[in-house]
Structures are given as C-alpha cells and as structure tokens.
Symmetry: C2
C-alpha cells in the first residue's frame, strides 16, 4: 500500500487482487500490471504485457537519477504529470508538442520524438498512441551510441501498431510492451506511474 | 470521410468497418462507436454502449450553440482540445482543475464538477474517470431547473463505477453510457470528438 495512492485506488487494487487469479509476475511486475488493469478494467492486459529482463530495475535506477520522461502525446504527459510532481519532479516532455510542423512525409509525433531522442537519448520513452513514433525510434536505435533507459511500447490501434511493437521486440533496448492492438495513453501513463512509485518508495526508504 | 480526420485514422476506420460485422447503429451512432473502438482496439465497446433517444441530436444542436464542454479530468480535456480548436472553439473546462482543494468528504473532481454544474448547467458533461463526480451530478439533476445538454457517463474501474452508471441510467437526462466496468478518458474523448465532427460537418455544409 502506497501513500502516493488515493484510498479508492487501493480498494480497486484489492478487487483486482481477488479476481486476477494465479500468475507468475514478480512483485514489481505485478505493481505495473495491476495499475494497467485498474486504468482499463481489462484483465486481458495481464496476458498481453511483456517485460524485457532487467527493464524495471533499469527504469527505477534511471528515474532515481531523474532522466527525462518523453511521452508521444499530451494525454500521456497529462496522465503522469501529477505523479511526477509528487515524486521526482522529473523533466516531462510530450514529443508532439515539440514539433508544431512535421518534417516532410512524417507525423508531428514522429518528428517531435526524433528531436527528443537527439536531445535526451537516455530518457524513458512512453509511447501510448503513435506507432509512427515507435517505428522511427526503433529504426534509430541501432545507430545510436546511447540507448534509452526504457521504451514503453503500447500504442493502440489498427494501422502499423503490430509492426511497431514487433520492431521494438526485435531491439535489445530495455522495454515494456503490450502485444496486439491494445494499449493507449492511460496504459502508458499507468506503467510510468507505477514505475515512479516503485522508484520513489525505494528512494525514500 | 472527414477532412478533420488524419488519413491514418480513415484507414483504421476501414479496418473496423470490415471487422465489426452486422449491427443496428444509426450512422451517427456508428460514427461514435467506431471512434471508441479505434481509441481502444476493443470491439466489446460496440455491445456496451448505450444512447438515450435523441441524445446525439440534442448534443449536436448544443455544440452548434457552443455550450461549454465540462470534463472530469485533465486527460479527457487534453484528448478533445485539438478537435475543439479545429471546430467550434467551445469553452472547455476540466472540473478537477477548478477545485484545488476538495470540499470535506468529497473528491476534488466531484467538488469541481458541482461547481461547474452550478455555473453551466446546460453544458455537455464528459465523465471518463471519476464515478464520484458522476454520482454527485446524478444526485443533483432531479433538483436542477436546467438540465445538461448531454452526460457522457463512461468512468472506468472497480469501485462505484457500476453504481454511477446505474444512477445515470435512472435519470431522464440525454446520455451516452458504457455499461460495465470499462470506459476511460480516451473513450470519453472519442465520444466528444465524434460529436464535434458530426456537429461541425452539419454546421459547415
């Protein structure tokens, strides 16, 4: 139980604990899974989530060093801003807001994300919406000397989403993914918020 | 096909059209359903959504009169701000941001929403997160001389969510609901955005 959570949230977690059944998640993984289920009321996420080995530990250490958090869109930023301000006050940037005008043939989110990756290659990248941004990031990773602390690859939808998640799975970058078409801004925000709590409570204690 | 939509969005809609199968939605209802499925990649929403008779027509007429849009939380506001600015430039308020301090025994969102309802009783209310806010609004409706143009009741989660949706269903207010535990900020935003497009395209033509 975390003081960073509202009592109603802890009640919701108790319902999820009762209903989720057997699982093999580590405590830290389960803290993330539970928050994702809370934000979607969709238990299918427990079967769709993937953690690369060491991803959570790496993210926690990086959050404690206050690396920036880069989101693809404003809704993800909005969804984590409250927890960021209650914990590390980490720099928080929505990529799409960095690119009022897209580069030719690219989306604004993709353009903004590549700008952010150039400035903050070791950041935590949380992609809840824009598969174009995730694809562009994955294409850049093999050439980049510095790798992100974590890539959260959970875009939602019907076009390029599966491809973008497959591209991420094929990189060695520390990552948390949702397989399939599901995902979205609240899922990305839930993962970041759960990591912030894990990092903050380890840091404070 | 709408000029307000990105080409990738129209491609996603084509996939949904192919996969959704037989349904009895009116064209306006389907425009909303399709956008909700797009934002969640979850076809179950087609079976969970409820429209009260005349709700869409009433909302369209109200948006054309530029009634304010009140959201419960910042993520819903963030999710509709772009479409609002491309269409009517409607006043847009996130209730929680109006209440830095909650009233005793109430949540901030509930406190802010009741303030907004006092100021703008005929607004469109989009509740994607906070069942407490939806419950408080439903308790107020029978006493209020002026009724909202529309209540979008789609909070997500495990505590008070079913109760809040049942309370809304028991009022005669024009409403769009998601039955069950599912819903969320992107669902609320998708419904508002679909309504804005319907209202704007009828207005412009």
């Amino acid at each position: 139980m975390s003081l960073l959570n509202h009592p109603i949230l802890e009640q919701s977690f108790a319902v999820i604990d009762r209903e989720i059944g057997e699982h093999n998640f580590s405590p830290a993984e389960y803290a993330i899974v539970r928050r994702v289920i809370h934000t979607t009321a969709d238990f299918e996420f427990a079967t769709l989530i993937r953690f690369s080995p060491g991803a959570i530990e790496n993210a926690i250490a990086s959050l404690q060093r206050r690396v920036p958090i880069i989101t693809d869109v404003g809704m993800v930023k909005q969804g984590v801003a409250g927890m960021v301000s209650k914990t590390f006050g980490t720099p928080l940037i929505a990529a799409v807001e960095e690119a009022p005008v897209p580069l030719p043939g690219k989306t604004r989110t993709e353009t903004g994300l590549m700008q952010c990756f150039e400035l903050f290659p070791d950041a935590i990248f949380a992609i809840g919406n824009a598969p174009t941004a995730l694809l562009a990031l994955c294409a850049e990773l093999p050439k980049a000397p510095v790798q992100p602390a974590l890539v959260i690859g959970v875009p939602v939808g019907f076009i390029s989403v599966l491809e973008s998640k497959a591209a991420l799975a094929n990189t060695p970058v520390p990552q948390i993914r949702i397989e399939g078409r599901k995902g979205g801004s609240p899922v990305a925000a839930a993962i970041v918020n759960a990591l912030l709590i894990l990092a903050w409570e380890a840091y404070e204690s």
